[in-house]
């Protein structure tokens, strides 16, 4: 049994310690906001926060999350970022957007007013097949209050 703290709630999960965190979140806890993209940490769709650090849940064993604070898109508290996302109508198909938001939130937590280069470097691993990159960058800047 592995104890997970997800979005402030405690869950005891009976699963193999090597089970990918994404499986536990979606299939065992019903938190389906986090998406499965590539399964190899190459696209960023499954990004969640582990003690504030953005990690790819598709390759993170649940044993690594035991005893640590886990945040998914359902528990994301950066309201300014989510408002900016809505105001600029960032998503198109939407599949990658939970991961985009989680990575952007991790960036803003460490760098509240990022430059274009800093945004590009942090967001480089989150792929969007609809090509919403320019709106993603604009929304991050709006949430950060930078032009």
């Amino acid at each position: 049994m592995i104890r997970l703290n997800v979005n402030g709630r405690t869950h005891d999960v009976d699963a193999d310690p090597e089970m990918p965190l994404l499986w536990a979140l979606r299939d065992l806890l019903g938190l389906t906001g986090t998406k499965y993209g590539c399964g190899q940490a190459l696209c960023g769709a499954c990004t969640v926060h582990l003690d504030g650090e953005a990690v790819r849940s598709c390759v993170t064993p649940i044993s690594r999350a035991a005893g640590r604070k886990l945040t998914t898109i359902e528990g994301l508290e950066n309201r300014a970022l989510q408002d900016a996302w809505c105001e600029l109508a960032v998503p198109q198909c939407g599949f990658c957007q939970a991961g985009q938001l989680m990575t952007a939130a991790a960036l803003l937590a460490e760098t509240p007013q990022p430059s274009d280069d800093e945004i590009d470097r942090s967001m480089a691993g989150n792929i969007c097949r609809c090509g919403t990159y320019s709106r993603i960058r604009a929304a991050i800047k709006r949430a950060a209050g930078v032009k």
Partner: protein
């Protein structure tokens, strides 16, 4: 019957070639044993030869990929640019949202094919090896300002026992390991230090 005899002949003639190819001095996957350097009478020459042997590990893509001269690591035996695109950041562990440990675990993931080992990160830029000669790497390795503030004894320890260094011989998912073993590298670096930690001349390979 004729086919059968031909097969026997082929097997018999192939065996010595295979054994010969696996001899330590010829096999690019092997490291020479420290004892094999004892025939070099001059202590300084022996030390330089030992470092050249160790440099085969340092310059192997499995190790050099994370000792880049720039801010982006390489990957693969062909040392292509790391994909997804990542940068070293202030502490050599990536940037916010793209930390090395956001993807790399403390062990290899065979199904996802993501390599991993404890404290996965880039070597500091002062310890860059890509594009450098064995001579330059040797001088760098002896300089505390460019070797992570290590004494020679600590350099031996790092090469012989560090768990991230160890990944070079346990890269997982069918990747080619660095030559020899970490234990053999440790013995070679130890012998290099004991013989005066001499550096090979520029141009020596």
């Amino acid at each position: 019957m004729r086919v059968f005899l031909l097969l026997i002949a082929a097997c018999a003639s192939g065996k010595p070639e295979t054994l010969e190819a696996k001899a330590p001095a010829e096999d690019p996957r092997a490291l020479r044993a420290v004892a094999s350097f004892s025939s070099i009478a001059d202590r300084g020459d022996r030390s330089r030869a030992l470092f050249l042997e160790a440099s085969r590990v340092f310059l192997h893509p499995r190790c050099a990929n994370c000792h880049p001269s720039g801010d982006t690591p390489a990957q693969g035996i062909d040392m292509h640019r790391h994909d997804p695109p990542v940068v070293r950041g202030k502490d050599d562990g990536g940037v916010a949202g793209m930390r090395c440990t956001g993807c790399h675990q403390d062990h290899n993931l065979e199904l996802a094919t993501v390599p991993g080992a404890p404290h996965w990160q880039l070597a500091p830029i002062q310890m860059a090896w890509v594009g450098k000669s064995p001579h330059a790497i040797c001088e760098q390795m002896k300089d505390p300002a460019r070797n992570g503030r290590r004494s020679l004894a600590e350099t031996v320890e790092h090469n012989a026992h560090d768990k991230l260094v160890a990944w070079g011989w346990n890269p997982g998912h069918g990747r080619n390991p660095a030559p020899g073993t970490q234990e053999e590298l440790g013995r070679i670096v130890q012998a290099w230090v004991e013989t005066g930690a001499e550096c090979p001349p520029e141009g020596a390979k």
